[in-house]
Amino acid sequence: MSDMADPIYKTDALIAEDIDAYLEQHQHKSLLRFITCGSVDDGKSTLIGRLLYDSKMIFEDQLAALEADSKRVGTQGQEIDFALLVDGLAAEREQGITIDVAYRFFTTEKRKFIVADTPGHEQYTRNMVTGASTADLAVILIDARKGVLTQTRRHSYLAHLIGIRNIVLAVNKMDLVDYSQQVFDDIVADYTAFANSIGITSFVPMPISGFKGDNITANSPNTPWYTGKPLIEHLETVEVDVTADQDKPFRMAVQWVNRPNLDFRGFSGQIATGIVKAGDAIRVLPSGKTSTVSRIVTLDGDLDEAVAGQSVTLCFADEIDCSRGDVIAIADTPPEAANQFESTLVWMSDEALHVGRAYWMKLGTQMVSVTVQAPKYIVNVNTMEHLAAKTLDLNAIGVVELATDKPVVFEAYTQNRTLGGFILVDKITNNTVAAGMLHFSLRRAQNVHWQALDISRDAHANLKNQKPAVLWFTGLSGSGKSTIANLVEKKLHRMNRHTFLLDGDNVRHGLNKDLGFTEADRIENIRRVGEVAKLMADAGLIVITAFISPFRAEREMVRAMIPEGEFFEIFIDTPLAEAEKRDVKGLYKKARAGDLKNFTGIDSPYEAPEGPEIRIDTTKMDAEAAADAIIERLLGWH
């Protein structure tokens, strides 16, 4: 244990002698969040264990357990196996949660540290990205005996992708290569070539041994040729991102409007970039309204200024509209708003990307509906090659174009993590399925002025003396959708209503004749029908659609396009057995025989509506009665 005589935590004496002085010193420490990357064999766990041990974050009871474990199962003979501290128990590993990010904490004289300990293997790319997203710095470990490996490249790429500017290349296990400068220099040269190729312009290389403690807390006599800082000193002094963010223009996403009474109206949020001072001229996006900051309010009294990273509440001199999702920015250099972007996406779900399907996008405090185009390419993280792909599978990283349903206030991710980083959320399962980093907008939304229509939507409807509506029929093949929809249209026509029926016959042969019956094509089919229905409703018509529309997500997508109260989801509820028994077109027979693929109900799923406006049970009601019930409900709304 002679190597361990030099703990980082040299303030023991101060704690014992003058606790107030110690607390005063501790109180002013800053925080560095970092991530360690590299495969287990590169000595990642040993390094973290060493940092925890040297900073006295290991208690006697834990140390006793560690010493016992080291003797029993350790890989370092009679010496302490630091890796055991971090790797947890075999049982835990079997339960599968060591594949996740674990956060660990330690302190030195100058700084506090949070380490995100992430798994190394390729299948855990999403975990690595999660850990990296909150890190100020990445320590990339290399085994001196092995040099730059695929893992090294992958982790460097991911760290760079997520925007970590501070990279430490820790060439570990130097003790096993006799502290050879040649070995070190060769590895650094190798890595430099690779780093340049992916856009990493600077990194700090250092020769270390996590096991022996070389160049961890102090420069090692074993590497006299190394003139840089030891690891800890570097971690203690490197500038962190939140400080760097203060140089950028002021931006804050509004989280919550604070309104305890009529006399106070404040806007709460965490400052993303820049500095705000009382008296600053600001602009609220996307509305563009301006005012000045009258107060920066906190429980401990008003502040004169606040900086990136702080959570504050701002008051304005003027009463202007501002709510959750808006962005407050310095008035003279505000960010833009747009609705079409190019972006990198890291796919994090077992279920692949559905091109064309609507997802929720959360960016800052903005939540919008978004659809994703087929990837331009995906990146092979091992070789950095760009490959063609139709979709994104778990852990895939691709560049895509996406379109939001309303303008989003944004900046490029490289400029501003808060206004450029986003997640995608599946609308049905509510899972977080992807992380995204915006590159740029495809066209400026402020240039896409909606054609100012002299004849408004209301004008169209008023002329027809009716309220527009979309009657969206859904149900299995042969459930009776078309029959009932036809009857509804006839009856409405007799009542002098202006209607139009969209069904497979008039859409599949024309507008959508390029589409087949794969899942992606079915999604696109419904999207187009939805858009057409929306235009017709804008023209004042009562639109009736009769499509199986098997997926809940697409029906919800259409619902979101249509003004509230005008969309009627009509579930023609006929049990599969009943529809198959009727088999009007003989399709079920073909599907059962295997002659028809992707047939809903047989080898393709039907997701029944959860809360349709109207449900028709065709085993209890004939088509006439069903049509009457639907019309009654529709006109009842008028």
Binding site: Q27, S30, L31, Q62, L89, D100, F105, Q255, V307, W360
Partner: protein
Amino acid sequence: MTDKTILTHLERLEAESIHIMREVVAEAEKPVMLYSVGKDSAVMLHLARKAFYPSPPPFPLLHVDTTWKFKAMYELRNRMAQESGMELLVYQNPEAKERGINPFDHGPLHTDMWKTEGLKQALDLYGFDVAFGGARRDEEKSRAKERIFSFRTATHGWDPKNQRPELWNLYNARKKKGESIRVFPISNWTELDIWQYIHLNDIPIVPLYFSEKRPTVERDGLLLMVDDERFPLREGEEPVMRSIRFRTLGCYPLTGAVESEAKTLPEVIQEMLLTTTSERQGRVIDKDGGDASMEKKKQEGYF
């Protein structure tokens, strides 16, 4: 440009916690803050007051009571509820009450019925969809891996293998009907951070954290305080006055004291920093069922 402001670690942690609390209030239907009267709860309550000032925190406090907490805890609880202007809900599992479940006779069942079951019942009863908890990642191995937004099924189960990725400071609070979320705003704080924050902000805490002569008995390797007459003395046991304090507070028959002379916060912190055993060692609860015990409890719905 003038000199940059370098935020201290506590300022960054505070800003993060406040951000988390505001996200919950903006997105949840009916949030609640679990309040256990310990030092972590004290910090949580203070952060909530900061996050929403000048409004009072827009959610109630919920104390899932076991009837076996220290008297001093009940006193502080009532005082803090009054000072913060927040509604205090106290829930005691009626079944546990009826069956007279207690830590002396019922062992692990005590925690299970009063705390785990009590919590589930209270959340269901009031229909809370998000509950703030004061767990920290430095406390225990399985907590080191838990997300800040931690999902619970309609039956309050936790699935450690199926956690949502949590990127940047973007929290996905969407959930299905019946599901709920436990949110841990002080996940990234350490024990020292908590103490220092209490010290800097002068936050009221239960006096039991400070040393005083108190009646104690030594039992099964723990130093227990005889807090009221319900403490059944075994043969030969006689309460002895010792200078003790507590590093963590729970049900008094389950919480081990440490002998100490630390009477002020700096002294308490000093003792903590010089001490050589981990914080939860004084708690019986982690030890039922070996190393994976906390993880198992969490899967069953314990906070």
